[in-house]
């Protein structure tokens, strides 16, 4: 039995399809749902946490159906939305104790002390939240979520708006939770974080999964190395065996190559023959960003922005 399972999960907001027949199987891992803004990440989380009706398809958490066994599902999960909702007029301890009471756990005070210690907040526990930094507030939300020892933890954009040090700390904590056997489902649009800290990622675009696997597998699916070239003047893509054009912008292009070191001189020669004036060139290993761009493609900006539809979507999501 998988901790999280979804089959053909679909959600419409009016005529707008936010999530389109999504399949998921997540168990004992940190799974990241990656996607651009508006790709359906939050909608997916809301459905899995029983906060939004499913239009079509099924989903289960710990074997319980999210539609028909909602209260069983909620007993087993914790959900931290991206809004950073902690009461600023309450102290850290009061915020956590409030959740401990709502969960109805035995010995709520001891458990509160314990999770505050786990999140490194013990020494500031009795300060009002208004004095907490963004990173501390996020850790406090994690403490609230941990107080009933959930089997599955849903985190919607856990590091959004935090500085680099705070982000690393949040991920270290998430990693520790994973080691204790928790299944963690994260949404993010920070590729580097997913690459570094997650066991498996699913890339979604326009509500559909376009790639799933470990960050390594996904990167391996692209060829080995990435070559970036900036040019001055006209650019014509050359035809070199073992090298493929990945993306192209105004004054540069990105290629992938099976073996970058060998392909590099060939590519430069071919470019020179084409009459392209190369200004700089660099060779690097692929990142999840490249995988993402490859899978999702350049953002589609051709359709007119439908403001009314966008508003409807935002409103329904709340």
């Amino acid at each position: 039995m998988n901790a999280i399972e979804a089959n053909g999960l679909t959600r419409y907001y009016g005529s707008l399809c936010a999530v389109d027949h999504l399949d998921l199987a997540v168990n004992n891992e940190i799974f990241a749902l990656l996607g651009p803004n508006g790709s359906g990440k939050t909608t997916t989380v809301l459905m899995l946490t029983t906060l939004l009706h499913i239009t079509e398809g099924t989903a289960s958490v710990c074997g319980f159906d999210v539609l028909t066994q909602g209260s069983e599902v909620r007993r087993r999960l914790s959900y931290v939305p991206q809004d950073m909702a902690v009461d600023i007029k309450l102290t850290g301890r009061e915020n956590v104790l409030f959740f401990a009471h709502l969960y109805g756990i035995p010995r709520p005070r001891d458990k509160t002390d314990e999770v505050l210690a786990v999140m490194d907040l013990s020494d500031r526990a009795d300060d009002l939240i208004r004095t907490y930094s963004g990173g501390m507030r996020r850790r406090l939300e994690l403490a609230q979520a941990l107080v009933h020892e959930p089997a599955v933890l849903f985190l919607d954009e856990p590091t959004i708006g935090l500085d680099v040090a705070a982000r690393r700390k949040i991920w270290e904590h998430i990693g520790k939770l994973r080691k204790s056997g928790m299944t963690i489902f994260v949404t993010t649009h920070y590729m580097d974080e997913a690459d570094q800290y997650c066991d498996r990622v699913g890339i979604i675009s326009k509500g559909r999964t376009v790639a799933t696997g470990t960050p390594g597998e996904l990167k391996a699916r692209l060829m080995k190395d990435i070559i970036m070239v900036t040019v001055a003047g006209p650019f014509a893509a050359p035809d070199v065996p073992g090298v493929a054009l990945l993306t192209q912008s105004g004054d540069g292009a990105t290629f992938t190559a099976e073996n970058g070191k060998e392909a590099l001189p060939l590519l430069l020669n071919a470019l020179a023959r084409n009459g392209t004036n190369v200004r700089s060139v660099s060779l690097r290993e692929p990142t999840l960003d490249d995988v993402f761009l490859h899978a999702v493609g350049t953002p589609d900006d051709s359709g007119a922005f439908d403001y009314q539809r966008f508003r409807t979507m935002l409103r329904r999501r709340k």
């Binding site: 809301l46 029983t50 950073m84 709502l102």
Partner: protein, 241 residues
């Protein structure tokens, strides 16, 4: 439904720590009591304070309830509601906790107004009178806090709700029996005042003052309260999946 108390406790602590809000909401009814209650030259009674106090008490509850209606809407806007809805605690306890808190808060405020009224000359004697007055105020508080909470949740944003709030509070107050008895009202106002739920509560408190038990009004407030609570629970369930 053991979650209700914890939701009430949260709001209570936040309210008390807000300091300014604790006092500011009392200014309006206190001003009415002092400046209208003591100063208005009326001819139909020789103790206008005694006449107007029930109206001001009910007004305090009304203003406090309508004000509190925004609380659940803010919880929704700020993301708290989604966190609460994802808890195994029964979801209705969020709504009932909010209604309970708003009612308790409004009754505390009404108590302070009542104390001021007694200081400046209103009269209320037996413990039974106090108990009945409080019963009426609590019933009225539940009725309007349930109504306001659901209305705000339905309206969705605080600008619109503030507009709706001003739109209904003053007309409701002026078309009730708060300021004058039915027999000095023009007939058109009397017709509206008789149907106004504020009048039920005000007339009931006046009847208690006069030494009778207003069974009909109490029954009407209870009945109306139950209907509104059931309706609000249904709407709340529908709006939160």
């Amino acid at each position: 439904m053991n979650g209700i108390w914890y939701y009430v406790e949260r709001d209570m602590v936040k309210w008390v720590r807000g300091r300014v809000a604790v006092i500011s909401m009392l200014v309006m009814p206190a001003a009415w009591l002092l400046f209208v209650g003591l100063a208005l030259p009326v001819r139909f009674t020789d103790n206008y304070i005694d006449f107007i106090t029930p109206g001001i008490l009910v007004m305090t509850i009304l203003a406090s309830s309508l004000n509190g209606g925004a609380l659940l809407m803010f919880d929704k806007i700020l993301g708290f509601l989604n966190k609460f809805l994802a808890l195994p605690t029964p979801r209705e306890s969020i709504l009932f906790g909010k209604i309970a808190f708003i009612t308790i808060r409004s009754v505390i405020q009404a108590t302070i107004i009542l104390a001021i009224a007694l200081l400046i000359g209103a009269t209320l004697r037996s413990p039974v009178q106090y108990a009945l007055t409080y019963l009426i105020l609590i019933l009225f508080g539940i009725l309007f806090s349930a109504f306001a909470t659901t209305l705000a949740l339905y309206v969705g944003d605080h600008d619109s709700y503030a507009a709706v709030n001003t739109m209904i509070s003053m007309p409701l107050f002026f078309t009730s029996s708060a300021l004058m008895p039915y027999d000095v009202m023009p007939p058109w106002l009397r017709a509206i005042a008789v149907a106004n739920p504020l009048s039920y509560a005000i007339d009931a408190v006046r009847a208690v003052n006069a030494g009778t038990v207003p069974a009909i009004q109490i029954a009407a407030l209870t009945g109306l309260g139950i209907v509104v609570l059931l309706l609000c629970t249904r709407i709340f369930r529908r709006m939160t999946v």
